[in-house]
Symmetry: C2
């Protein structure tokens, strides 16, 4: 089995190396010159686009235009998968842009170079079948399972709803506290230390990921509103308490 | 050395047991009938108020009235310490209400039953001297050190400024996310799991602690405003990004 990874940014490099640990031949290409990640061979774009399984690891906001650019060059028997952190739009783009005959699967590995630093065993990967499930789907599913990943299958909408209120809110809180200028302090409680780690980890990811998570998840706006409403409620409750005195 | 703990709420019970591990005789009393925490003997209020060191472990918002009620009954040679999570007001109350001759120390153990569940070694305790430092201060300081605590000495204002932007913001975020109805999800990222733990831990503490942290810390209001400003900035930045399309 030959796996291609298209895109070697922070996530793509990490993901390609992780895939290589499962024993398949992993090749990768990147817009800009890039060192080969561990266990991965750099290859020409054309070879990558003809692998048995082709993973796109590009920014959500670039995925549509990348697909339009390369779709004609993708092998007829190549299975196409995305790895975007939102699923409704990327799956829609794959359906619209790729030929009907191309076998398509949407995935979201719910981890990255920080959270997967010490191994990915037990970490979740979401799979949303786009083409009817057959042996090609089952083969890559088994490959993920062999890497120790926990496979969760759901619809694109289900994923985005859950992700807006988990990954989405985490990144929003992380970026907000960063903007607030949170600093380490000697008198940090354990809770504050944990919060600082979340800030560091979310802000380690490219800012574009943050924008894309908020912009391309159909439930993100509702999530942000619900966070603002919750803040108002807490502030009102504090005001009520003060009025008691 | 005999140590008295006045108040056996969630924090007081935990703190009394922790103190007992250092080898001193620890006695405690409580408004409502209460089982003796491990290693601690329940005693009459009068005996507790005459211990060598007397720790108050009562809600910040009750501390002033409790002090007024019992100050005449405190032993002349008893060293009085508070354990409140804010320091400016409690220190002011001790100065104003207790006799000038009473030896006073303000403290804030920066941990509790959750964060100290697996031991307190290396966890910080803040000490703000109120009376001029002498052997009585040094004796309890050594006792804290013997328990493995990391001692941090600072002024009451310094503590409150740092605490508003660390413990204060952590509790505010925890309560807000709870109000938003955060739920565990199968697709939780590691970051989201960490955030959920912070929510659970802050909301395990009594709600009164949350109100008091916000109300009695002179810097809490400024912290909350600065959090709101940061949210506005992040939302504006997201709107700018959307306008690019």
């Amino acid at each position: 089995m030959k796996i291609g990874v298209y895109g070697l940014g922070r996530f793509g490099s990490f993901f390609a190396s992780m895939l290589a640990k499962g024993g398949a031949e992993v090749i990768a290409c990147s817009r800009s010159p890039h060192e080969a990640p561990e266990g991965v061979r750099l290859a020409a774009e054309d070879e990558v686009l003809h692998a048995d399984y082709l993973f796109f690891a590009v920014a959500i906001s670039s995925f549509e235009s990348v697909l339009r650019k390369v779709s004609d060059a993708i092998g007829n028997d190549t299975v196409v998968l995305d790895t975007c952190s939102v699923k409704t739009y990327p799956a829609k783009w794959m359906r619209e842009i790729l030929p009907q005959e191309t076998y398509k699967i949407a995935t979201h590995p719910m981890f990255g170079p920080d959270s997967g630093k010490y191994g990915v065993k037990g970490l979740p990967i979401v799979m949303c079948p786009i083409s009817p499930v057959d042996g090609r789907y089952m083969e890559i599913r088994r490959y993920f399972a062999g890497l120790g990943l926990k496979i969760l299958e759901m619809s694109e909408r289900e994923h985005d709803m859950e992700a807006a209120y988990s990954q989405g809110v985490t990144h929003f809180v992380g970026r907000t506290l960063k903007k607030m200028g949170m600093q380490p302090t000697e008198i940090a409680t354990q809770g504050y230390k944990a919060l600082m780690q979340i800030v560091d980890q979310t802000c380690n990811d490219p800012e574009q990921l943050f924008f894309d998570l908020q912009r391309y998840n159909p439930y993100a706006k509702e999530m942000r509103l619900s966070l603002q409403v919750a803040i108002e409620k807490v502030l009102n409750r504090l005001a009520e308490e003060e009025d008691k005195f």
